[in-house]
C-alpha cells in the first residue's frame, strides 16, 4: 500500500502525533481531532500536513480490523483528491469552489453534531435523576401444563424407603481424585496374568472402592479380549468373571468342564508379558533415524501399489 510511504516521511519530517484510532468514532472525528489539537484554523487547513498526519494515524489499522477501516481509507482518498485539486491551476472565471469547501462544511457540521450529542448526554443524565412512578412490567411466567402423574404416591414412597442415606458425619471432604485410566487397568490385568494363568475379576478390584475402577477394569478386560490378549469367561450370569491368559498362536477356545488353569503352563514369576501392540515402556530410541526407519517400514507395509524405489 502506498500509504506506508506517506506515513514514514511524516515521522521524520513533522512532529509525529501518536493517535489511538480506537478512540475515534470515525474519520471525521479523527480529522477534527488533528485539526483542533494543533490549533489549526479550520478555514485555512494546511491540507498537505493534515493529510500526512491522517495517513500516518491510520497506519495503525491492522489487517484484521479492516471492517471499520474502509471509512478511514475513503477519507484518506478524499483528502488526497482534494490535495491534488489544490495543485491544479484553477481558471479565474470558474464557478468552482475551493476544493476544500465541502470537507470544511462536513467538519463543521460534524463538530456541531458532537456538541449537540454532548448536550444530549447531559440532558439524559439529568433526566435519569428523576423517577416516574415505579412500574416494572410483570415477568412472563412459563406455562406449566397439568400433566397427569403416571407414578402413584405408593411407588414414590416405596422407592424413597429404599434409598439409604449415607451418614453425613462419616462423609469426608470431597477431594477430586485422580481419574482412572484404561492404560492403568490394562497394566493391572497384564501384570496379574503374568503371574497366573487366570484371575478373578473381583480380585482385580481389590483395594479399589470407587465404582469407576470396576467400570474401567471391565472395559480394559474387554479391550484386551478384543485384541486377543485374553479370554473372558463367566459360567452363569452374575457368577464370578474370570480372565484367562492367552498364549500366542492359541486360537482355540478353552473347553468346557475341567479346570483350564491346570492346563496352562506355569510362567515364571516376574516375567512381564507385554501385548505386542503396546509401545515399549521405557526404552525410547535415542537416534531419531531409528524412529524414521520404523516409520518407513510401517509405511512400506501399508503402502498398496507398485513400489517406486
Amino acid at each position: 500500500m502506498d500509504l506506508s510511504r506517506a506515513g514514514n516521511t511524516l515521522i521524520t519530517r513533522e512532529n509525529f502525533l501518536v493517535v489511538e484510532l480506537d478512540r475515534f468514532q470515525g474519520p471525521l472525528d479523527l480529522l477534527l481531532h488533528l485539526i483542533r489539537q494543533q490549533d489549526v484554523d479550520i478555514f485555512h487547513i494546511p491540507l498537505a500536513r493534515i493529510t500526512d498526519q491522517f495517513l500516518a494515524a491510520i497506519q495503525t489499522i491492522r489487517s484484521d480490523q479492516l471492517e471499520g477501516a474502509g471509512e478511514f481509507l475513503e477519507m484518506a482518498a478524499t483528502l488526497i483528491r482534494i490535495k491534488a485539486q489544490m495543485l491544479l491551476p484553477r481558471q479565474e472565471g470558474e464557478e468552482d469552489q475551493d476544493p476544500r469547501a465541502e470537507l470544511v462544511r462536513r467538519l463543521l457540521e460534524y463538530e456541531q453534531i458532537r456538541e449537540i450529542s454532548s448536550r444530549l448526554k447531559t440532558a439524559e443524565a439529568e433526566r435519569a435523576r428523576r423517577f416516574a412512578k415505579g412500574w416494572v412490567p410483570a415477568r412472563p411466567r412459563p406455562e406449566i401444563s397439568d400433566t397427569p402423574l403416571e407414578t402413584t404416591w405408593e411407588d414414590v414412597w416405596e422407592v424413597a424407603l429404599m434409598v439409604e442415606l449415607s451418614d453425613p458425619a462419616g462423609r469426608g471432604p470431597l477431594v477430586p481424585t485422580r481419574s482412572v485410566t484404561m492404560e492403568d487397568k490394562i497394566f493391572l490385568i497384564v501384570d496379574a496374568l503374568a503371574e497366573k494363568a487366570r484371575v478373578e475379576f473381583s480380585r482385580l478390584l481389590c483395594g479399589f472402592e470407587d465404582k469407576a475402577h470396576a467400570v474401567m477394569t471391565l472395559l480394559a478386560g474387554l479391550e484386551l479380549s478384543r485384541r486377543r490378549e485374553l479370554f473372558l469367561r463367566q459360567v452363569t450370569p452374575f457368577s464370578e468373571l474370570w480372565l484367562y491368559r492367552r498364549r500366542e498362536g492359541d486360537e482355540t477356545s478353552l473347553t468346557e468342564g475341567g479346570d483350564p488353569a491346570l492346563e496352562e503352563p506355569e510362567i515364571p514369576h516376574g516375567t512381564r508379558r507385554r501385548p505386542a501392540w503396546m509401545p515399549p515402556e521405557e526404552e525410547e530410541p535415542e537416534d531419531p533415524l531409528a524412529v524414521l526407519d520404523v516409520n518407513l517400514d510401517a509405511l512400506d507395509e501399508d503402502t498398496v501399489g507398485p513400489e517406486t524405489t
Binding site: 494546511p46 476544500r100 469547501a101 453534531i113 439529568e126 415505579g134
Partner: protein, 193 residues
C-alpha cells in the same frame, strides 16, 4: 372532591406522560385549559409543601416525577425502572436525526462519516426513533424521526427544547470563507459569534 384532585389522581395513576386533553377525558366538566390550570395549582401546592415530587411537563404531556435530589436514595432499588444510557455513536446518530428529521440512513452516514445501520436499528428497538416517511428517489429510502420516547428520555417538553443551533458554539455558515492554505502559519480561530 375538586377538579385539582381529579387531575392529581389521573396523573398519579399514569405511568407515562399524559396530555392535558387526555386528562380532560376523565370528566365531562374538564377541558384542556381547566386541566392546565389545575396542574399549575398542583405544581404550586407541591412546591409550597416541599413534596419530593413535581408535576413535570414532559414529552408533550405531564407526568409526576421525583425531584432529582432524591436520585441517590432511589437508585438503590432494583424495582425502580432505569433506562440505560446511550453510547457515543448512538447519541451522535440521535442528534443528527433530531435536527435533520426526516432523514435517511445515507444522509446520516454522510454526516457521521461512518456506517450507522446497526446504531439506527438499536435506536429504533429502544423506541427513540422511528420511520416517519419514505423519501423520494431510488428505492424510496426510509426516513427517520424522533419519537415521544426520545423526548421523555432526555426530559424535553417538545422538540423545541433541543438546543437551538444558533446557541451552539459551532455555527454552520452558508458561505464558507476559505482562506489560502497556510502550511506552517498557525492562525487563531476567527470569532464566528
Amino acid at each position: 372532591m375538586n377538579i385539582t384532585q381529579i387531575v392529581e389522581a389521573v396523573l398519579f395513576a399514569s405511568d407515562a406522560p399524559l396530555k392535558a386533553e387526555e386528562i380532560a377525558r376523565a370528566d365531562g366538566s374538564l377541558d384542556e385549559d381547566i386541566v392546565e390550570e389545575a396542574i399549575r395549582a398542583l405544581q404550586d401546592q407541591y412546591g409550597d409543601s416541599e413534596r419530593s415530587f413535581q408535576v413535570v411537563e414532559l414529552a408533550e404531556g405531564f407526568q409526576i416525577l421525583t425531584r432529582s435530589e432524591f436520585a441517590p436514595y432511589l437508585e438503590r432499588f432494583d424495582t425502580v425502572p432505569r433506562p440505560s444510557r446511550l453510547s457515543g455513536p448512538a447519541l451522535e446518530t440521535l442528534a443528527i436525526i433530531a435536527y435533520r428529521q426526516p432523514i435517511g440512513r445515507i444522509e446520516i452516514e454522510y454526516v457521521r462519516g461512518v456506517a450507522c445501520g446497526g446504531v439506527i436499528r438499536t435506536l429504533q428497538d429502544r423506541g427513540l426513533v422511528d420511520v416517519v416517511a419514505r423519501g423520494e428517489g431510488i428505492g424510496r429510502p426510509l426516513l427517520y424521526g424522533t419519537t415521544k420516547r426520545f423526548l421523555n428520555h432526555f426530559g424535553f417538553r417538545s422538540i423545541d427544547d433541543l438546543p437551538r443551533s444558533e446557541e451552539l458554539p459551532v455555527v454552520l455558515l452558508e458561505g464558507i470563507p476559505l482562506g489560502a492554505e497556510e502550511e506552517d502559519v498557525v492562525t487563531t480561530e476567527p470569532d464566528h459569534g
